[in-house]
Symmetry: C2
Subunit: 227 residues, 2 copies
DNA sequence: AAGTCGTGACATACTAGTATCTCTGTGTGG
DNA sequence: CCACACAGAGATACTAGTATGTCACGACTT
């Protein structure tokens, strides 16, 4: 979940609408380009239009909705430029994290990475992309902690979330798990060995694979992208 | 300006309120911790409370306002953690941009950088921090274009904006211009020479100076920071 | 005298209804 | 047959008023 800058002690109608739509969009229950109307959603939730409007506004700020004033509101299509930006941030931040992690790596780091990789192997054998994805997050969290920049994990999570909706469209994500796991193993090995530049180099290859996946999705479903 | 995900062809009341408050907050006409009320702002702009509410919501999403439901709304204080995140992103992205710029540098790059530096020198002699700041932006834009990642400039701009409000509090920003200019000259020289790692190393020193400034502000005005 | 409870002022959350803008489709004039 | 104008449908933008939650202050109780 993204961090909205508000206290969350109480749960308002806006929150309910927002959270429901947020996950519906990210789970592709609502597809890019789908038109939605304030009145329709309001009726569905049994509230007036205003809270729906507020929720729409928040979703638009997160880049999930496109509000066309006095015309219509639709689920935002993917923007190749936004994706490129997101990918560049992630590459930059992960390179920096990996570099620092390699410089600070200890025996404990190696142990934590190896334990995570063992679980990743199990997930691949079980063919569970969901499990694998969670362990992938944890893998990066270990690197962030080793690099002593825990907050960087929030950044990586946010950027990952930006493309997660896109990746849900991928046809063959299960097939790619073995090579991703292999990358992780190599990165862990270099980091544990304190070889910063080597680890970064593999990290770049690792992220480039995702670029290929994204290109494949673009060719498969051009309608889901902005012109 | 941050990119709100909405078409901007028409200018609504919400836009007017939003933009006015946005610059008031960034120019420190409204200070961190200041309480503001929907009704008050609505009266001031001669509109009803709803557009003000929408504008508040957008500002809260950008991290400039803290909405405490059914209690109060105030200008958000600075968060040391958020600042650290912002700084880390900028350091990571700029390192990557600088590295690629050095690899792609041509004679035209050198010419563009030198021209920019000549103007920066004039700005420093004139003691104009505002002019210097604008040229600083342009300097980074040249690097992004050389690195062939123009979109990275949007990222850097966004991160810079995140701390610009904070830097407005700095007491001695004019005094620091000469050393910042000196950094820029060294970075330009290394980039033009194609020395990627050398340029990145100076870039790190350059950004670290800003960290020192931020620490000084924190000691000077602790009330403007979150606990 | 100290603690607790109630009340009132004031903040945001929400509802309902009106105004205004944009697109679309149709009919008419050239 | 094509182009333009106009009207209607439907969407969001805005207004005004009501509901509800929070805090502070003062009176009452112990």
């Amino acid at each position: 979940m993204p961090a909205a800058a508000r206290t969350k002690e109480r749960k308002t109608s806006v929150d309910v609408v927002f959270e429901t739509l947020y996950s519906a969009i990210n789970n592709l229950e609502m597809l890019p380009g789908d038109k939605i109307s304030e009145a329709e959603i309001a009726a569905q939730f049994g509230v007036s239009r205003q809270p729906v409007r507020d929720a729409f506004s928040r979703l638009a700020n997160l880049g999930l909705l496109l509000i066309q004033p006095q015309k219509a509101t639709e689920v935002k299509r993917f923007s190749r430029r936004e994706i490129a930006k997101s990918r560049f941030v992630r590459m930059s931040v992960e390179s920096e994290v990996t570099r620092r992690a390699a410089q600070n790596a200890t025996a404990a780091t190696k142990a934590a990475l190896d334990a995570n990789l063992a679980q990743q192997t199990l997930a691949v054998e079980a063919g569970s992309y969901e499990k694998f994805g969670k362990l992938d997050y944890a893998f990066h969290n270990i690197l962030c902690k080793t690099a002593k920049v825990d907050f960087a994990f929030e950044l990586i999570s946010a950027e990952k979330a930006n493309v997660d909706r896109l990746c849900m469209l991928s046809l063959s994500k299960e097939d790619r798990m073995p090579e991703l796991l292999d990358d992780h193993k190599k990165i862990a090995e270099r980091v544990s060995a304190g070889d910063a530049e080597g680890a970064v180099a593999i990290g770049r290859i690792h992220l480039a694979r995702l670029d290929a996946t994204i290109d494949a999705i673009f060719k498969d479903k051009p309608d889901y992208f902005e012109p």
